[in-house]
């Protein structure tokens, strides 16, 4: 079932006030909407790029640090410039946006500004009415000018338990791709769980700071009741991305536990199982079925106490399984981590 409304929310550049938007995000989800949350301190370019890539119905901006007239206007103008003026724009900012400001902003193309004290129900009603019945586009990728002949891009599937650092790891890999290959284009298909009977918070973009780039195309999908860490929409997106003139495609599942590999073999060229160094006992390790089938195993959080033991244990566990699997230890949160460098080299070759 498709969500009633799909939104992108963010806090403007040079503004860290994310408390209101965090609360509002939860309300939206509670009312069945899918919310792609971009985080705080985000430029108009980042917001518009993400909104278009994510195919949202509207953008919600929470602005507390002034400069809102210019900022909202910049978002509206950029949408128009990118031929995406059908994406709505609304927002608020506690007491910092005056009625006079709001009038100017609405004249410049903002659909609605909410003032302090607006009941949540009123905001939900507005969003449903204004954006609820839109025709949503299907799979659509950007077209790049003057690209080489079509070759299917290699697809890397990344899975593992929640909190292992999959998102950070992908972002660090993207940074290396962007830096070392000035023409590289990257696609990311990310998944987050839908809450039963409700919407979904798609929050990976807020953490993926380096992936907010014109050379990166990212789409966040909600599982919408599908088990196994992927979405009913996954298949068409993977197909399109592989044929979409990218140099590499990353597919990240939601955090999943010990079950079998979620990827279909024909989709991914390489599968990576990411786990944290603090997985618990050796017995736990024996139960992880994905260790037998992943092409590579990344033991992340190598800075934790006991990480060395963890890498050794995982190595032994894998030796008993299939041949040719590799174990790499990383500290993805560390800038220029040599482990991530090694992983990058492996993937590129």
């Amino acid at each position: 079932m498709a969500a009633s409304v799909r939104l992108l929310t963010a806090v403007p550049i040079c503004d860290g006030h994310d408390s209101a938007i965090s609360t509002i995000n939860l309300e939206f989800i509670h009312h069945g909407m899918e919310v792609v949350y971009l985080g705080y301190h985000r430029s108009a370019r980042d917001i518009v790029r993400a909104a278009i890539q994510e195919g949202v119905d509207a953008i919600g901006i929470s602005s507390y640090n002034a400069g809102h007239i210019e900022f909202f206007a910049e978002v509206v103008a950029l949408l128009k410039k990118r031929k995406a003026a059908d994406i709505g724009v609304f927002g608020g900012g506690g007491g910092t946006i005056t009625k006079a400001d709001a009038a100017i902003m609405q004249r410049k193309g903002v659909d609605r500004i909410f003032f302090a004290g607006t009941p949540m129900e009123e905001m939900i009603r507005f969003v449903r009415q204004a954006y609820g019945k839109r025709q949503r586009r299907g799979v659509r990728l950007p077209r790049f000018a003057a690209r080489k002949a079509k070759v299917a891009a290699p697809c890397i599937g990344i899975t593992g338990p929640g909190g292992a650092g999959k998102t950070t790891l992908i972002d660090e890999l993207v940074l290396r791709w962007l830096k070392t290959q000035p023409n590289a284009r990257i696609a990311i298909l990310s998944h987050d769980p839908s809450i039963v009977g409700k919407g979904a918070l798609l929050g990976d973009r807020a953490t993926m700071i380096y992936s907010q780039d014109d050379r990166v195309f990212m789409r966040s999908l909600a599982t919408r009741g599908r088990a196994g860490g992927l979405s009913p929409e996954t298949a068409p997106w993977v197909r399109a991305m592989k044929q979409g003139e990218f140099d590499v495609v990353f597919v990240e599942t939601v955090g999943i536990g010990q079950e079998a590999m979620p990827f279909r073999a024909k989709w991914v060229d390489k599968s990576i199982f990411v786990m944290s160094a603090d997985y618990g006992s050796q017995l736990q390790l024996q139960k992880i079925a994905m260790l037998d089938v992943a092409d590579m195993v990344v033991v992340n959080k190598g800075d934790l106490a006991g990480a060395l033991t963890a890498v050794a244990e995982v190595g032994r566990r894998i030796e008993r399984g299939r041949n040719g699997q590799r174990v790499i230890a990383t500290v993805a949160k560390r800038h220029r981590d040599p482990g991530v460098d090694r992983l990058f080299e492996e993937l590129r070759s």
């Binding site: 503004d15 609360t23 002034a66 800038h335």
Partner: protein
């Protein structure tokens, strides 16, 4: 055992020690005799003052009980003002004239920042026109807080909004123009965190340019530079935590050596409180962050008695009952932890406190009621013997404060301290009541529980990474919203008596004109152009120092001479990466 666990143990040991002294005072004649002799001498040393109406009063209110146990409880448990564990105050005289009759420095600190450097400069001169001692507190605009230049992509609308725009050392010179940097009576506070070392380097360089190298050693003031609370609450961190902490430690190493009167960090509960934390959470996170910095600086080879006296704190003061005694408890916990866990001497045991009244307690609706709210919070702040204080302007919920309301907020402090007799004649007039004691005990117990929880999570850094403090603060904020919504937390004019206040008038809002913003962007471009030959080399040198493990702050003092804020952060992003938020 983690430092925080040791702090908890030392607090419990201290409580046992106090109980023991109470018993000895009651049961051991020799001990009692010594104690009573000391008590008599203390009582005799208290001067008598006369109020304007002619009433004679002691200049310090001491407990009136003659029970030796109660006297021991006071002397060992609370401490005479200026004595361990400093519950009453960190100095013997707070707002009273000292023995020699010297008038104390005014504790009023006035926060300002708007438009370009010269606009804020003008505001500073206006605010300090009548002040004996000049204490400036600087707010920066969004781009500066995030280490971006005014000509960065997409920030134009934010230039000079909500604070002053600073891009270069030249802006810094303009900001404090016609103030005598290095003067004994001047102190400058800067509310800056992520890029704090760069801004302080600009300030030092500006002082050196204007007043020569000799002025540098005399500079007084503080930068906030509290990175941990940024991750936990305020989101103004720009580099990864590890790199941020290293830059901070380098700055602290440099200032303790070369700017002996500077406070290089202001460990802040204010933003934790404003983000929604309960007073107990605010105190627990602030103190535990403080202990974490002490551990960190010691790991960097700094001696606790060198940097310890240069740490200062910044707390929120709202209308909840906890604020009657919150800072009193903080002073005690800090002193005990510093003495017993880190072996610090007296100077480093003193919890130097700046307080600001709560911005969150103010509302736009019927905003003149905010004058009353702030006045009550001010009273609570001084009741807690704060060392300096900022009072919010009533118009703050919707605009950069206008001159009128800034003036009224400052006047409120003068009225409280100079007009009323509350803090002018007798020190500790309100302390020692049964209610205050009950409150202190309850607060201490609750804060200790928080310490234990953080310790169980692996200490402050581990808990921060697990987003513990952050999610606790969010939970408290959510509850607060709920309570204002359903009226269990009454707010006059908002959820109670809404018609009894004036209807909401569209207030006058201060904005920075487009032409001023353009001026800032233009002169930044000129600065960059003028220094284009040198800036690349300076940034390479900075990179080398970061990578070789040298003192980054010392190098920044050179870098800022020819590089802008954004050029420096841009290079540092390449070298150490960017902060990655977690959702």
């Amino acid at each position: 055992m983690s430092a925080l666990a040791r702090v908890c143990d030392s607090l419990e040991a201290q409580a046992r020690f106090v109980e023991e002294q109470i018993h000895r005072a009651r049961d051991e004649p020799k001990f009692r005799a010594g104690l009573l002799k000391r008590w008599k001498a203390i009582r005799a040393s208290i001067a008598t003052v006369k109020t304007p109406t002619g009433l004679a009063l002691p200049s310090l209110a001491l407990p009136t009980s003659t029970d030796p146990g109660e006297i021991a409880r006071y002397l060992f448990g609370e401490g005479f003002p200026g004595e361990f564990p400093f519950v009453n105050s960190i100095y013997r005289e707070m707002y009273l004239p000292a023995a020699g009759g010297r008038t104390p420095e005014e504790p009023t600190r006035l926060f300002a920042g708007l438009g370009l450097a010269e606009d804020t400069n003008e505001r500073f001169h206006y605010l300090t026109k009548h002040q004996r001692s000049i204490r400036l507190s600087t707010a920066f605009d969004g781009p500066t807080l995030y280490g971006l230049d005014s000509d960065a992509d997409g920030v134009f609308g934010k230039i000079g909004e909500g604070g002053v725009a600073i891009d270069t050392v030249e802006d810094m010179e303009r900001l404090y123009d016609r103030f005598s940097l290095g003067d004994e009576r001047l102190s400058v506070s800067m509310t800056i965190n992520g890029p704090a070392p760069i801004l302080l380097a600009m300030y030092v360089a500006a002082a050196r340019r204007r007043f020569g190298a000799k002025a540098v050693g005399k500079l007084r003031g503080t930068v906030q530079a509290d990175i941990l609370k940024e991750v936990q609450a305020q989101n103004e961190i720009i580099f990864p935590l590890e790199a941020s902490l290293r830059f901070l430690a380098d700055m602290v190493a440099h200032t303790t050596e070369h700017l002996p009167r500077w406070y290089p960090i202001s460990i802040s509960g204010y933003h934790i409180g404003e983000a929604g934390a309960t007073p107990v959470q605010q105190a627990a996170y602030t103190l535990s962050n403080g202990f974490t910095y002490v551990e960190l600086f010691r790991q960097h080879g700094l001696a606790v008695d060198r940097f310890g006296p240069r740490l200062s704190f910044f707390l929120d003061c709202g209308l909840d009952i906890e604020y009657v005694a919150l800072a009193r408890v903080c002073r005690k916990l800090w002193a005990i932890g510093m003495r017993d866990v880190f072996g610090a001497g007296e100077a480093a045991q003193r919890f130097k406190l700046h307080t600001q009244t709560s911005g969150r307690s103010l509302i736009a609706l019927g905003f003149k009621n905010n004058l009353t709210r702030t006045a009550i919070e001010l009273f609570l702040a001084y009741l807690n013997s704060t060392n300096s204080c900022h009072s919010n302007s009533a118009d703050e919920p919707f605009t950069t404060p206008s001159e009128e309301y800034v003036r009224l907020a400052a006047n409120a402090q003068s009225i409280l301290l100079e007009e009323t007799g509350l803090f002018r004649h007798t020190m500790n007039l309100f302390t020692g009541s049964p209610g205050m004691r009950i409150l202190e005990e309850a607060l201490e117990k609750a804060i200790l529980e928080e310490f234990r929880t953080i310790d169980r999570l692996g200490g402050v850094l581990a808990a921060t990474e697990q987003r513990y403090q952050r999610s606790q603060i969010q939970g408290a904020a959510h509850l607060y919203e709920q309570q204002t919504g359903d009226g269990t937390r009454p707010m006059i004019g908002l959820n109670r008596y809404p018609n009894s206040t004036e209807s909401f008038l569209e207030p006058k809002v201060l904005r920075t004109p487009r032409s001023r913003k353009q001026l800032q962007a233009d002169r930044l471009r000129k600065f960059k152009h003028r220094h284009r030959q040198k800036s690349g080399r300076a940034l390479d040198e900075l990179t080398r120092v970061v990578e070789s493990g040298g003192n980054v702050f010392t190098e920044l003092l050179k870098t800022v001479e020819c590089c802008s804020l954004g050029q420096i952060t841009g290079r540092l992003f390449d070298v150490v990466g960017r902060f990655r938020p977690s959702v």
